[in-house]
């Protein structure tokens, strides 16, 4: 300790402890809500996992979105060939971090009806190094957005949009999220659940799926007995949603927001980067 320093030893230790607390705080926030600002560690770029994504979105049978538009490729379709070719051609993209494309919301359904259904097919590519992939789905900002007359007639009385469970939409969107791996690696990435694709990440209402997945879960694509995605390959995760035709007026004008976050860790890392339970 330099003579004349204004710090006593105890003060210095306290200051170091404070730094530790500051560092810990963003981690807690990140665990509650995937923080888009929390991205890759640049010093690990060369040897660490680098996750890239591609996606294809369909709504009531019509393609709305696909990610090859960012790389001037032909439209991505719901086939494993299309995802593999896009991956090999370097068309998978970053959506978070300095090299991110301006993806905007991938899923944007402003006028959902009972009977609607949609599909979000997400390709995950481990670039350069093997990677273990983690998924977090968080639904939030549930809102009633005032009551329409048919909602009131249907017995809907909730008007407090500051409530954590405002509105009813999150309880009436049925979500299934499964490993779209196909059978023996054939027929994956097609968004249609083959009977052999038994492994489901989560299924239930959007609220239930969010409860189950917001803390993050490891993804295990189950190929060659390894949970990891090999470097230079891609896997597909399918997320299908549907509003049953029997759903009534209580959902009218209700809204939800939704984050779908992926994290990649090294294969030997079993610590949940989203702060939930570990592998």
């Amino acid at each position: 300790m330099t003579h004349g320093s204004p710090f006593t030893r105890r003060e210095l230790l306290a200051a170091i402890g404070g730094v530790g607390l500051l560092a810990a705080a963003p981690r807690v926030a990140g665990a509650l809500r995937p923080d888009p600002g929390f991205t890759q560690y640049t010093y690990a770029q060369t040897s660490g996992p680098d996750l890239r994504v591609a996606w294809y979105e369909r709504y009531n049978g019509t393609r709305l979105e696909e990610s090859n538009r960012f790389t001037d490729g032909g439209p991505l379709t719901n086939t494993s060939d299309a995802f593999n070719e896009s991956g090999d051609a370097g068309r998978f993209v970053d959506v978070t971090g300095p090299n991110a494309v301006t993806a905007g919301p991938v899923l944007s359904i402003p006028n959902a009806h009972p009977g609607d259904e949609g599909l979000l097919l997400i390709g995950l590519r481990a670039e350069d190094a093997d990677a273990r992939a983690w998924l977090s789905i968080t639904a939030y900002d549930f809102a009633e957005n005032s009551l329409t007359e048919p909602e009131r007639t249907a017995g809907d009385t909730t008007t407090d949009d500051t409530a954590t469970d405002a509105g009813e939409l999150q309880h009436h969107v049925d979500v299934t999220c499964w490993y779209d791996t196909g059978r023996f690696g054939v027929g994956g990435c097609n968004g249609s659940r083959d009977f052999s694709e038994e492994a489901v990440v989560a299924a239930g209402t959007l609220a239930e799926v969010s409860d189950a997945l917001s803390g993050g879960v490891p993804l295990d694509f189950g190929l060659v007995e390894s949970a990891c995605i090999d470097a230079g390959t891609q896997r597909c995760l399918a997320l299908r949603w549907r509003i049953d035709p029997s759903v009534t007026n209580v959902i009218q004008s209700d809204s939800v927001r939704l984050d779908v976050a992926f994290a990649a860790t090294t294969c030997d890392d079993t610590t949940n980067p989203f702060g939930g339970g570990d592998e």
Partner: protein, 388 residues
């Protein structure tokens, strides 16, 4: 383990030390979880909002509208017109819209009516027939854009442009000039209320409109129409008696006739005033051959074998197929008529002597061709006081 290499020799201690170092590196890495190599990609800010289907009736967010036709507003020359515009709010989605009206008091059959949809005539006939038409045979109503309502069969589009305006015109046919009984009933029933229920259902995923009746629409069915009853009562007991004609062989002094109202359930004399009469006992000074009872729009004849005390009900006897003005002279010869039941006082307003023999018997029946037929015409038939 070889020690024959070119100076790269590991003894056991060194090997253990090396293993230990690896272990220490691993432990350090594990401790600093935040320092693990990770990458994250977030598809953020995704949003889903449910749409809406909201009806608009004359600009109000409601599913029901009442139209009232007042006797003061219609006549032989005057039409009472009521217009209602049905549509969807601006922020609604396209929808199939169904409307339904219930048949009401049968007195509505006595009025003529016309329905125009956005200026085109969709129906001409009696008001009762119009309500039957709008009710649909199964109570499921009519699709607002149905061809029967001069529509294109497509879903209604949101906003004022997509709204459909229905105009119901009601007037009295000139034949009512000879039928004071029916006119009295119309006055008593005024205002005639017509309730139109509307139901809208999203058209997305519903390529074919589903009639809102049981078995065809799992989401909604119109509530059943109230059974049509007599007068302004609750309808549960059927029509109440409005007048009673006693047919006798000789003239009767009206002042000598007495009558009492009986309770149809207990057959006891009703004490005090009642607003409706269903069973009446009449005592006449001269023998009665038959009695004609008018209840609602129905005439019934009951035969008696020269009795002087007769009890008649609103439902007994033989139903007669006669025009409304028949009650002016329901007997072939002499008789007496307890006329015009007054709900307010609980009495017949008048007891009058009948003498129909001189007049050639009962008036001839109305030619039925002039009566409302309830037919659906593509164009206005332009009759009966059309004011164009």
């Amino acid at each position: 383990m070889s020690d024959r290499g070119d100076g790269f020799r590991l003894n056991r201690r060194r090997l253990l030390a090396a293993i230990s170092t690896v272990g220490a590196v691993g432990a350090l890495t594990g401790r600093g979880a935040a320092a693990y190599l990770t990458d994250r990609e977030t598809l953020a800010d995704n949003r889903m909002t449910a749409g809406a289907v909201t009806l608009s009736l004359d600009g109000l967010d409601t599913g029901q509208v009442d139209l009232d036709f007042t006797v003061d507003d219609y006549g032989f020359e005057n039409r009472d017109e009521e217009t209602v515009c049905l549509g969807l709010d601006d922020d609604s989605n396209p929808a199939w819209v169904w409307i339904r009206a219930c048949p009401g008091d049968s007195i509505q059959d006595a009025l003529d009516a016309r329905l125009t949809v956005d200026g085109e005539t969709a129906y001409t006939g009696s008001l009762g027939g119009l309500l039957d038409f709008l009710s649909g045979s199964d109570g499921g109503g009519v699709l607002l854009t149905d061809a029967a309502l001069v529509g294109d069969g497509d879903p209604v589009t949101p906003g004022a442009d997509g709204a459909v305006c229905l105009t119901v015109a009601v007037w009295a046919p000139t034949t009512l000039a000879d039928d004071p009984d029916t006119v009295r009933e119309l006055k008593a029933a005024s205002p005639l209320g017509v309730t139109i229920d509307a139901y809208a259902e999203q058209s997305r995923h519903v390529p074919t409109p589903r009639r809102p009746v049981t078995g065809e629409n799992p989401s909604f069915t119109f509530p059943a129409c109230e059974p049509t009853g007599g007068g302004e009562g609750d309808g549960d007991d059927g029509y109440a008696i409005s007048n009673v004609s006693l047919c006798t062989s000789t003239p009767v002094d009206p002042d000598a006739v007495t009558w009492t109202v009986r309770d149809p359930a207990t057959d006891a004399d009703v004490t005090g005033a009642v607003d409706e009469a269903f069973v009446v006992t009449v005592t006449s000074p001269v023998p009665v051959q038959s009695v004609v009872v008018k209840a609602g729009p129905e005439f019934r004849r009951v035969e008696f074998d020269d009795a002087t005390t007769v009890t008649v009900s609103s439902t007994g006897g033989t139903l007669l197929d006669v025009p409304q003005r028949f009650a002016r002279c329901a007997c072939d010869g002499d008789g007496i008529k307890l006329d015009d039941w007054n709900e307010a006082t609980g009495t017949f307003d008048a007891v009058v002597a009948l003498s129909c023999g001189d007049g050639g018997g009962p008036p001839p029946r109305e030619p039925t061709a002039d009566e409302p037929t309830g037919s659906v015409l593509p164009e206005s038939r332009g009759a009966n006081g059309d004011d164009r």
